[in-house]
Symmetry: C2
Subunit: 204 residues, 2 copies
DNA sequence: TACTTTTTATAACAACTGATTTAAAACGCA
DNA sequence: TGCGTTTTAAATCAGTTGTTATAAAAAGTA
């Protein structure tokens, strides 16, 4: 046959993720990638096509390891607990993100997706899946009474999605524990069943 | 004295805002700016300093006309109405944003602020002001009974700020009327006074 | 061992980047 | 009318951008 590849495509993609994640698409040059990957630019073009294709693969790779198993893992839990654990993990990750990289999907939603139809489709599809995960949790919780039905599952799932994105943006410039943990409290309260409402009057 | 300037600095700054707003910082070159402004690059450097300084001035200009009077205008109203009107306007603007430019401050929070201390300060300061506006509204509403006190004003102000940012990100890839107007409903419900809670069980 | 195919390394391509130099042009003030 | 000052225009700087051509190196198959 022919000469085999000297590098591991997954290892090299992981490096691409870190570069694009930290610096964004425009600010990362092919030479940046090549140096970090330990490859020549020719090898990158040979293996992936062009810069946009590397980013595409990197974003897929990121989504896979960021949302792939996680959603399934959380869905094992009780509905309300699943949602709360999901947000607690996001907040924790945002607070320990010393490099201020944020979420690569959100970054992509703002830098690349607005003027690239394909990325728009990719990003909105992932967001739709997260929203659907929230909605399934809420519907299950409403059925077993652990989540209130004052608002529709659809509306509340949207609220959770919006809050999630808001946290990821806010944490990028103001990664303050009090702020993030405080803003999520009223959102959790929104999920509470009706029976708990009266006992929830004090917040001191 | 000396030769007077041939261009109107405010008019030219407005053009810079539109360019940076639509394309972002990196993707907008000095030559892009010069062409759009009808100036030479030398004139830009003479008048503003360097590219970063142009962006700095443009962001200030944007913030001024986007948040300057608006907050004051809304604060004239009744507390709850002020908040609702604020969000309704944001949603309306997001839905009619055919160019998908989003909010320049949010864009800046993700592209520039993370690796530029000064912009981080500028962005977080504006966010703090928006948050303070929300808090003032909530505190006033809690005092006159038009807004519930199940959650603290601080926490709810944070929730509103997070929701605001979430809407601006979400609208960038999914500017859907149902989604945005739906996700805000539970947030408005969170603000309701205790007395209205029981009459709010149906959402059909 | 020779042939085929793919991956490498090196170099180069044209276009563009932010920024500056040079000199001409345009004003107000003396 | 000159003088001092600033803004213009045009060209240019060195460095970087994404991408590709060329040819050498490395493997399997015949």
């Amino acid at each position: 046959m022919a000469r085999p590849r000297e590098f591991d495509e997954e290892k090299v993609l992981q490096i691409a993720v870190e570069q694009f994640w930290e610096q964004g698409y425009d600010a990362t040059s092919i030479r940046d990638l090549a140096r970090a990957m330990g490859l020549t630019t020719a090898s990158i073009y040979n293996a992936f096509g062009d810069k946009r294709a590397v980013y595409r693969r990197a974003l897929d790779f990121y989504v896979e390891q960021s949302f792939g198993d996680r959603v399934g893992r959380f869905e094992q839990r009780q509905p309300l607990d699943a949602i709360q654990a999901f947000f607690n993990e996001i907040i924790e990750r945002s607070l320990s993100d010393t490099k201020r990289k944020g979420c690569m999907l959100v970054n992509s939603a703002l830098e690349v997706a607005p003027h690239d139809e394909e990325f728009q489709r990719v990003v909105s599809e992932v967001l739709r899946q997260v929203e659907a995960f929230f909605r399934r949790c809420i519907e299950a919780g409403q059925k077993d009474g652990s989540i209130g039905a004052r608002q529709s599952a659809t509306d509340m799932a949207g609220t959770l999605l919006g809050t999630l994105l808001g946290i990821r943006v806010l944490a990028r410039t103001r990664p303050e524990k009090n702020l993030l943990e405080g803003l999520i409290r009223p959102v959790f309260a929104m999920l509470e069943p009706e029976s708990k409402l009266q006992s929830d009057q004090s917040f001191a």
